[in-house]
Symmetry: none
Subunit: 358 residues, 2 copies
Amino acid sequence: MTSFTESVRVVGAGLLGTSIGLALTKQGVEVVIASQSPKSVELAVEYGAGRKAKDSDAPNLIVVCVPPQLTAQIVAKELADYPEAIVTDVASVKQSILDQLIQLGAPVERYIGSHPMAGRERGGAIAGRADLFVGRPWVITPNEKTSPQGVDLLRRLASLLESSVVEVSPADHDRAVALVSHVPQLVSSLLAARLVEAKSQDVALAGQGLRDTTRIAASDPQLWMQILSANSVEVAHVLAAYLSDLQEVVAALSDLDNKANFETVESALKAGNQGIEKIPGKHGSKHSTYAQIVVMIDDQPGELARLLTEVGEIGINLEELKLEHSPSAQIGLVELYVLPTAEQALISDLQARGWRIA
Amino acid sequence: MTSFTESVRVVGAGLLGTSIGLALTKQGVEVVIASQSPKSVELAVEYGAGRKAKDSDAPNLIVVCVPPQLTAQIVAKELADYPEAIVTDVASVKQSILDQLIQLGAPVERYIGSHPMAGRERGGAIAGRADLFVGRPWVITPNEKTSPQGVDLLRRLASLLESSVVEVSPADHDRAVALVSHVPQLVSSLLAARLVEAKSQDVALAGQGLRDTTRIAASDPQLWMQILSANSVEVAHVLAAYLSDLQEVVAALSDLDNKANFETVESALKAGNQGIEKIPGKHGSKHSTYAQIVVMIDDQPGELARLLTEVGEIGINLEELKLEHSPSAQIGLVELYVLPTAEQALISDLQARGWRIA
């Protein structure tokens, strides 16, 4: 029976590989790290994500964390090099990788696809975090031949990472992510692309709505071309339906005094209301587990340091912090994130010390 | 000379009206509140946003905070009822309101449009906050006849609300908000609308990307139909360009092995990268104009305060700061944003003091 007391081999020391290493190491699992880039292995090891892989390693689980385009090839190599190990990957497309493995004649009974639904805009080992997967779905996509032991091992991996397992077929996975991830990426990129030629003074009026809708337009084009290439059929299917809806709205905007036109646009807005109702935990933000306290500080050198020193004196641990201010504004807004149980105490103590809470 | 020692009349006691009342009251300005709904006035008064309006009031500034469709009509009435007062509004379209006022023969030399770029998803007096406008742009759109006193008064209003004033013509305003607000609304609503017919198990895989891109799809369709109706020409113009880009991408997805098709989609993603670079930071600063320095700190109380104290000692001004760490990680990453000219000096000084720069 496979067990996590043996070692897990992580191939690829980017954001996901490093984060998996950090989380498993924290749980007392031995992690060995391999990568084509010795420098990333070094960084990940220094960061505490595990130790450097060596020839005598006998991992019972291998997690391949490399770009989608390389995934099938490296999974096949790992299956061949470690004939006892279960191999998984973390690519965000699943059917085409399985197809390639079958074509390569790989022993897919020891392969099970994974897609952890977690990420950050910044990549690289340095962005790795032990809690990257906490509370996030970890999709597993067993193929028809995947062994029950493989499924069991992956479920235990996800549980160690505090992820919740979702089990679907590779094809169902790809249809779903076309809708919830790949099409939103293109829609967002195309929206942001409209800003390129725009006047800076127009873009200067941007509010939170534009920032939210275009945040993912910052994503890496090279990575996304690999994802879109591997899932182009499903993406085109959803995007064509979106295009058709959009054409109707553009046509209707030419004369909104016409009742039918008015109703076309109104229906689109109402359908949008209905659509987001279907998103689970739609009010869940990445900060949902923390309470947010906004403190207004004078825009003077040393004010933030003074605030943080006092937060330290009060003895409450900050989970996250954000400061945004402009050189012109008189006031900076500091967002403090703390555990909900600490919120009230911190607010009263800060107010008692004269801080302004927004 | 008009002064804020006299009273400000707020017409409409929803989110914006109440927030303005709360902020001005806090600053010691007398606020009187009127609304067609006596119940909302009662609520706003109870909430501390001012007192109920009475016939003997002599406001020198009137802020009309009613739905866009009613705005011109109520601004005209207020101009007539208070022949000494400057009148502004807060609707998110400006040219069509001015056109209606001119058509009604209103004395537009005492009218100046406003559009505070602040809001919350929740509406109503109960959602009102005195700090709603702090650090946000307050757009003023003087018309050709607006008196200098009107502009001056509005600037002082914005300053009391701790907003930063942006002055543009009504037409420029409407072109800008079509791009940065109205088109993103439709793009987001249509994306969320795609979820209506989708399988729940597919939508269950939604991550932060879908949540961000569809957040504003929760907006009120009735309010948005008023906004879109008043700005349909500018919206249609931007949306048609978006549609044309989208058509190219959908066509290209049918065969990404074709080099030209691949490049079409890749260019769209790259243009998205470029587009968001143009969006200024939340409070009017551009991330891209600052140099980012990432410092690794031990996850111990006081470490961040110590870092900031030392940055202060080095004598370099922080423009922005972000901290992210997890309770489990041994290390926190602090992102410091400084003027590019200060970057190298800060890095060397921090390193000399023993800080680890990522």
